[in-house]
Symmetry: C2
Subunit: 142 residues, 2 copies
DNA sequence: CTTAATGCAAAATCTTTGCATGAAC
DNA sequence: GTTCATGCAAAGATTTTGCATTAAG
């Protein structure tokens, strides 16, 4: 399902465009959204290429990845190798970076104790921000 | 996008079947997989109903939810209000429950400091277990 | 009876692939 | 020139919705 371990990287107009669009985007963006943004901005890039580029960025750690409520992937440019987690408002989508040092350390511990190698983690926090009226409960957990 | 706040719950053959199938399932299962399992077990339930029932269970906190590598949802029955996190092998799928008390406490802290209400969290850990040969790197993070 | 729940078929999404063309190096 | 990258069209897959029917309470 995944490509080769070998990974060529040619610099193309499209990849630059996707990178810039990601940088310009406010919070997390979906691939289809980016595709639309790019088209609107005059630097049209094929949807397929958007997907392939995002996957490339993901594999090389240049973006943070989250999931929206329905299973879609959301991407966010990751400045300078940084690794962050966000608290996203379920009402308005506003995202707030949080300090997850505790979690990072905990993950390392788990890795050592479990004997599993290359342990990666995904952490998603969502809630209702001060401005948004709560509508209903939800108790997702994984 | 979500339904009403009001939530009737009628006990039907289908819901019982989905619940039992979930209980019987080993680890995390997808909706389509459950649908197939049910059909194979003689207690056929419409795919639509499987989806609706799983969403109901999710909203009432009766299942844990994760995502597979491609954005699909995976469900796992949650025994007695318990809340667990798992470390899943990317090779063979074996899952290992881990103690995430640290994270739980951290989430509470974040909630208090941020002012967000009803903060829910999803935490996914994946790695390569001792038996599985590593194949390639991956650095997802959200 | 009343109203929620079911399930089929169909739609809407999101994501990946096949394959010929075009661009990097 | 070679080989990777692009992009269209098409296929796959997952999840949601419309609507008539069934069944729980």
């Amino acid at each position: 399902m995944y490509g080769t371990s070998r990974r060529e990287t040619r610099s193309t107009r499209q990849r630059a465009a996707v990178r810039e669009a990601l940088r310009g985007a406010d919070g997390f963006v979906s691939a289809p959204a980016l595709h639309t943004l790019l088209a609107a901005g005059g630097a049209a890039v094929g949807l397929t290429t958007v997907y392939r580029t995002l996957r490339l960025f993901e594999e090389t750690g240049r973006v943070d990845v989250t999931r929206d409520g329905s299973g879609g992937r959301l991407y966010r440019w990751r400045p300078a190798g940084e690794h962050r987690h966000y608290l996203v408002c379920r009402g308005c989508g506003a995202s707030l970076a949080v300090d997850a040092e505790v979690v990072e350390r905990w993950v390392t511990e788990v890795m050592e104790e479990s004997g599993y190698r290359a342990v990666a983690h995904t952490l998603e926090l969502s809630g209702w921000c001060a401005e948004c009226p709560e509508e209903h409960g939800s108790g997702t957990a994984g």
